[in-house]
């Protein structure tokens, strides 16, 4: 652990793509809903009504950030649950029309694992390839569409390498079809990073998560456009949302609403600040020899994401060494997974396994500062050099 000049521990959090700290304003908004305003939103006595109103306020807040109607917002336990509800829900409700689904090779496991489950249940799923920067091949999408296709699922921003996918173009392609093909967008990584407009995207379903935008963990949302045929995937006592039975996480939902408001208020400032820090970090890292940036540059990349591979270095060791200096990052190394396979996203963009081994993902949030980037850039080259010295694999061999 490192200390700054005042002797305080350094903590530079650059893993905002994994989760973010809760904003002070969000916590303040949530607190009363644990102890005083703790009612169950289904009961029409005053405590219940108060809770129901709070949920409705959050629906309006979240809906406002994606150009949806409040009643099209369902609160869930997070984007993982939203993705499952959207994909299986639409697949089951439309199976009489066809059993073909299209997604991509670079989706989050919460989409891929659900699609694999549907394959075991008799659906056919195509996984679209991406190019070397992670962009989905839309021409291939058009070729794969059939009369049987009922659903397409694509994330608007890739969570590992920050590629901003052409979801509006995909929406356009789907709208041009004679039969209705439902379009699901997992926007967990894109929320607060790029503008989201479900109408422009032509999205019928869209998944969000609160904890990626300085809201609490364990709460997310699913946007379901009116008149979308969808079946619930879990059953029980229905409180406010037919698709998602069970008692609502009211304090979490209140927190999500407040986080969404803050995100909208600060959007332009946050995005331009993150983009400036991103470009500074990326430029500094690129000065380290044998370092490659994964994903695109400029406007087609999430303002919050820097993914790079330091050749000849292993990512888990790198992550733990950076932690010793107080810097938190994520890695795409095979060593950091149970399956001991390199990240599926890096594999899909053609990064060799030995290079993927040295991949570190830095992700920014609202509270990162320029000083933190300067500090990071003073530490990373030293750690890379240190690890290269103990590696039997020379970077120039990769």
């Amino acid at each position: 652990m490192s200390y700054n000049s005042l002797g305080a521990r350094v903590r530079v959090y650059l893993d905002n793509g994994t989760t973010t700290p809760v904003a002070r304003e969000v916590l303040d908004a949530m607190l009363p809903y644990f102890t005083e305003k703790f009612g169950h939103p289904v009961f029409p006595y005053s405590l219940g009504l108060e809770a129901a109103e709070a949920v409705e306020r959050s629906q309006r807040a979240v809906a406002g950030t994606i150009n949806a109607k409040p009643e099209e917002i369902i609160f869930t336990s997070g984007a993982t649950q939203s993705n499952d509800m959207a994909i299986r829900g639409v697949a089951y409700a439309n199976r009489h029309r066809g059993r073909h689904i299209i997604t991509t090779k670079v989706e989050n496991p919460s989409v891929l694992r659900v699609c694999e489950r549907l394959e075991r249940e008799g659906f056919k799923v195509d996984y679209l390839p991406v190019d070397s920067e992670g962009f989905v091949d839309t021409a291939e999408l058009e070729r794969k569409l059939t009369e049987e296709t009922i659903l397409v699922s694509v994330a608007n921003v890739n969570d590992e390498i920050g590629t901003i996918e052409p979801v509006e173009e995909i929406g356009e392609i789907l709208r041009g079809r004679r039969e209705k093909i439902y379009f699901h967008v997992n926007a967990a990584a894109g929320y607060g990073k790029v503008r989201i407009d479900v109408k422009k995207m032509g999205a019928d379903l869209l998944s969000l998560s609160a904890h990626k935008v300085h809201g609490p963990k364990g709460v997310g949302a699913l946007f379901v456009a009116e008149e979308t045929p969808i079946e619930p995937v879990s059953y029980g006592y229905i409180s406010l949302f037919k698709l998602r039975p069970g008692t609502e996480n009211v304090p979490g939902i209140v927190g999500f609403g407040r986080a969404a408001e803050l995100m909208a208020e600060n959007f332009d400032r946050d995005v331009s600040c993150m983009r400036r820090l991103r470009d500074k970090l990326m430029a500094g890292l690129e000065e380290i020899p044998y370092t490659v940036i994964n994903g695109p540059r400029g406007d087609k990349r999430s303002p919050a994401n820097v993914s790079c591979s330091f050749k000849g270095v292993e990512g888990e060791s790198m992550m733990l060494h950076l932690d010793l200096h107080g810097i938190s990052v994520a890695t795409g190394s095979a060593c950091s997974t149970t399956k001991l396979e390199p990240s599926h996203v890096l594999t899909a963009i053609g990064v060799k396994a030995a290079v993927a081994h040295g991949t570190i993902r830095f992700t920014l949030g609202r509270y990162n500062t320029e000083e933190e980037i300067d500090y990071t850039l003073s530490v990373v080259p030293r750690v890379v050099e240190q690890l290269r010295r103990i590696s039997p694999v020379k970077p120039e061999q990769l």
Partner: protein
């Protein structure tokens, strides 16, 4: 049921292992080693290299290089400690279990990292035997 390792994330290492990872004593190149052996882990793609200096069938010095995770660096480091000063015969008897125990245990998923340093050691010792029986240069 508890999960000690997630699909993408970190697992819990013992304090002993982390200490070894942070301050390995035996890592680095060696000049004029008697034997060098290298092994790769086909599973995760790691590389491990071991250098031995052997005099009169006794391992007088050993070092290693690792392109691997924290567990691999730590297991490499204790492996060297466990064989330094031993005769080749003694070193050949080393068990993977002893390596893991010296680190206060290894998460199941990280056993293969210990296997990597173990296999490299075995390869180095076999290499040494071969050069000896083939009337190698060293007396």
């Amino acid at each position: 049921m508890t999960v000690d390792y997630t699909e993408r994330g970190m697992l819990k290492y013992s304090e002993k292992l982390l200490e070894r990872f942070r301050n390995p004593k035996n890592i680095g190149e060696m000049e004029n080693p008697t034997v060098v052996a290298e092994e790769g882990d086909p599973q995760c793609g790691d590389m491990f290299r071991m250098f031995l200096k052997i005099e009169n069938d006794r391992i007088v010095d050993a070092r290693f290089l690792s392109f691997g995770c924290a567990a691999n660096i730590a297991t490499g480091d204790v492996t060297v400690d466990l064989i330094k000063g031993k005769t080749v015969d003694e070193a050949e008897k080393l068990q993977i279990k002893e390596i893991a125990e010296a680190l206060g245990g290894l998460p199941a998923i990280k056993m293969h990292c210990a296997v990597l340093s173990y296999k490299t050691l075995k390869k180095a010792l076999a290499e040494y035997r071969k050069t000896r029986s083939g009337a190698g240069p060293q007396g």
